[in-house]
């Protein structure tokens, strides 16, 4: 056997060596770029673990000589936001109180709208949907003041309800698009069969459509949780001082602090604020990507 094999010429494409010059250049560029993108995260973490004297030496890239968690404790419990010195903890809980209901309400409303748009078209439904999509391009500043007046009329301005309402309204375009496209890709026969069997609007939604759409619900929830957590403008305008979300409090801690600037506390506070979206992002990975890609690339 071996002698026969030895006489046969090798065939097929020549196996490419792994380290061709082109590959090395490609990997080189990608790795350098990746290091650049990682750099701020690294700086954030190392700075937050240093003491102030070590920071004043002035090497921002040096790893901490003496690891201290004091800045983290201070950022969480006693950093000053300009008015009070309770740290970021109240802001964290405010953000939780804003993000949870806003996400649930906006995802539910958008899911039902997307379902109505696909399966229960009414006169002008496509017109309203187009308006909704175009509306997502209107700068928030244009609609901000009238929204303040509306929430004031509803007697909810300066409360968590106002923020929840605003997030639901402005989350509608992208989420409705997401759900509409997903429901449209499901086989219509399912809907028709359920309809023939006498199921109504809500029954079809809850017992057939929703259970089949868990992936898109996950995408929508990821999109909303990160988006709402990261919001600054609506929080600062609608929430009222005692309900300021974490982003607003973080900005106040860092930018309106008086006296000695504690860079390590600032960075610890920044990581704490970034933690929720970062965890969501690293855990969900592909689904996060799917969410932002689905909103932009149709079909």
């Amino acid at each position: 056997m071996a002698s026969i094999a030895a006489t046969i010429e090798p065939f097929g494409p020549r196996p490419r060596p792994f380290f061709t010059p082109t590959r090395i250049i490609i990997y080189g560029i990608i790795i350098v770029a990746a290091l650049y993108y990682m750099l701020p995260l690294y700086v954030m973490i190392t700075t937050s673990l240093k003491g102030l004297p070590e920071i004043r030496v002035g090497n921002i890239f040096a790893p901490p000589l003496e690891v201290t968690f004091e800045p983290w404790v201070k950022a969480w419990t006693s950093a000053c936001t300009g008015l009070t010195c309770n740290g970021l903890a109240p802001g964290f809980w405010n953000s939780v109180k804003i993000t949870l209901p806003s996400t649930i309400v906006s995802v539910f409303v958008a899911a039902v709208s997307g379902y109505a748009l696909v399966n229960w078209r009414f006169k002008g439904s496509e017109f309203f949907f187009t308006c909704l999509l175009l509306g997502s391009f209107i700068p928030y500043q244009v609609m901000l003041y009238p929204m303040v007046m509306i929430t004031a009329q509803l007697k909810i301005f300066g409360t968590l309800w106002a923020v929840i309402l605003v997030h639901t309204v402005f989350g509608m375009p992208i989420l409705t698009l997401l759900f509409r496209n997903y429901f449209a890709s499901l086989p219509q026969e399912l809907f028709k069969a359920a309809r023939v069997d006498g199921a109504g609007f809500w029954r079809i939604f809850f017992q057939i459509m929703a259970p089949m759409s868990l992936p898109i619900f996950a995408v929508a929830i990821i999109l909303q949780v990160t988006g709402i957590w990261n919001d600054f403008l609506f929080g600062v305008v609608f929430a009222g001082t005692q309900n300021y979300p974490m982003t607003v409090q973080l900005n106040n801690i860092v930018n309106s602090a008086q006296g000695v600037r504690e860079y390590n506390v600032n960075m610890a506070a920044t990581i704490l604020t970034a933690a929720v979206p970062l965890i969501v992002y690293f855990v969900s990975g592909k689904w996060f990507v799917r969410g932002i890609a689905a909103g932009a690339v149709k079909g």
Binding site: I26, Y27, I29, I30, A34, Y37, M38, L39, P40, V43, M44, T47, G58, N59, I60, S113, Y115, A116, L117, W120, F122, L132, L134, G135, I138, P139, Q141, V142, M143, Y145, P146, M147, T168, V169, F201, N230, D231, F232, L233, V237, T247, L250, N251, V254, N255, Y263, N266, M267, T270, T273, A274, P277, L278, V280, Y281, V289, I292, A293, A296, V297
Partner: protein, 314 residues
């Protein structure tokens, strides 16, 4: 008769025993579906159309802290374009926007091309390039504010390493602060462009690549002259999304420089918020926001042309 035709045209089963009347059709038939669609209709009519028209109308009044001013025609707009702060804000946004758009698009596309070379650990690298996009503008601004801090950040680090003349004070330098903003902004946004471009590249038919290889066209030319034109749709969509996001630039500036030093990094979105809530000059704020709206529509035009315009035969 018309009612029945109407119902039939919608493809809904009509109750056989009783042809529905107009009122019945409007309010009772498929009641749940109508209730469910109400939020969308209300949001479109009240917020997107109503609030926008309201703002446009009151931008023609001399309202101060409350919307009760008298009609003054184009006065607010004249004042706006003669205001130094607005002119700085608008030119800043134009400079920053164009640089940022070109930079994120080019770098995003190049990264996507590199990621498309069947590399190992692709998802790992993608995770690294995209994570800044998961962070808020505030967080991004504060991190870069710290890195670019002239006394303790990158500048002092490099000086400590021996380059005693190394200067990197863009964040406090009136002429360079926009480029500091650019560094933070592109770090935040390129991953997003890369992901969309990568999706576009993966959507290109494998046969195209085979044909190009058979014809002996070098890879870079295939990308530039065949693949790139095929991705026109993705590119326009990305441009529109990134562009309309840039017009809104707000929290990044608030966190990174808060408009300073002086007015040198002010942007229109900040101008609006400032006049709306702090300076109590609503008419002026609304005029500025209307100009922002107009800018967004200029950006939207290429997208509308591609999406709804006459389709060219390929």
């Amino acid at each position: 008769m018309t009612d029945i035709q109407h119902a039939g045209a919608l493809g809904r089963p009509v109750t056989a025993d009783r042809p529905p009347g107009l009122l019945h059709n409007l309010f009772v038939r498929n009641l749940s579906a109508k209730v469910a669609a109400t939020p969308m209709v209300v949001i479109v009519l009240v917020v997107f159309i109503g609030c926008t028209l309201w703002s446009l109308w009151f931008s023609f009044t001399d309202s101060r802290s409350l919307p009760n001013g008298a009609f003054v025609g184009w006065e607010q707009y004249e004042r706006l374009f003669s205001a130094r702060r607005w002119r700085i804000s608008a030119t800043n946004l134009l400079t920053y926007g164009i640089f940022s758009l070109v930079f994120t698009m080019v770098v995003g596309f190049l990264l996507a091309v590199l990621m498309d070379q069947k590399i190992r650990f692709e998802s790992g690298f993608r995770t690294i390039f995209l994570y800044p996009f998961a962070l808020s503008g505030i967080v991004t601004g504060l991190v870069w504010q710290w890195i670019m801090n002239p006394t303790l950040g990158l500048q002092s680090t490099m000086r400590g390493l021996g380059w005693t003349n190394f200067t990197f004070d863009w964040i406090t330098n009136t002429d360079m602060v926009l480029y500091a903003l650019l560094i933070a902004g592109t770090w935040h946004g390129t991953g997003f462009v890369m992901v969309l471009m990568l999706a576009g590249l993966r959507g290109v038919d494998e046969e195209i690549w085979k044909a190009a290889r058979v014809d002996g066209i070098p890879t870079w030319r295939t990308y530039l002259q065949i693949v790139l034109p095929m991705m026109r749709g993705v590119i326009v969509t990305t441009l529109v999304i990134v562009g309309s996001g840039l017009v809104r630039t707000y929290d990044l500036v608030v966190a990174l420089t808060n408009g300073g030093p002086g007015l040198s990094s002010e942007v229109p979105a900040k101008y609006v918020i400032n006049y709306m809530f702090n300076a109590g000059n609503l008419g002026q704020a609304l005029a500025a926001s209307s100009v922002m709206l107009a800018a967004v529509f200029v950006i939207l035009i290429p997208w509308i042309v591609v999406e709804f315009g006459p389709k060219k035969a390929r």
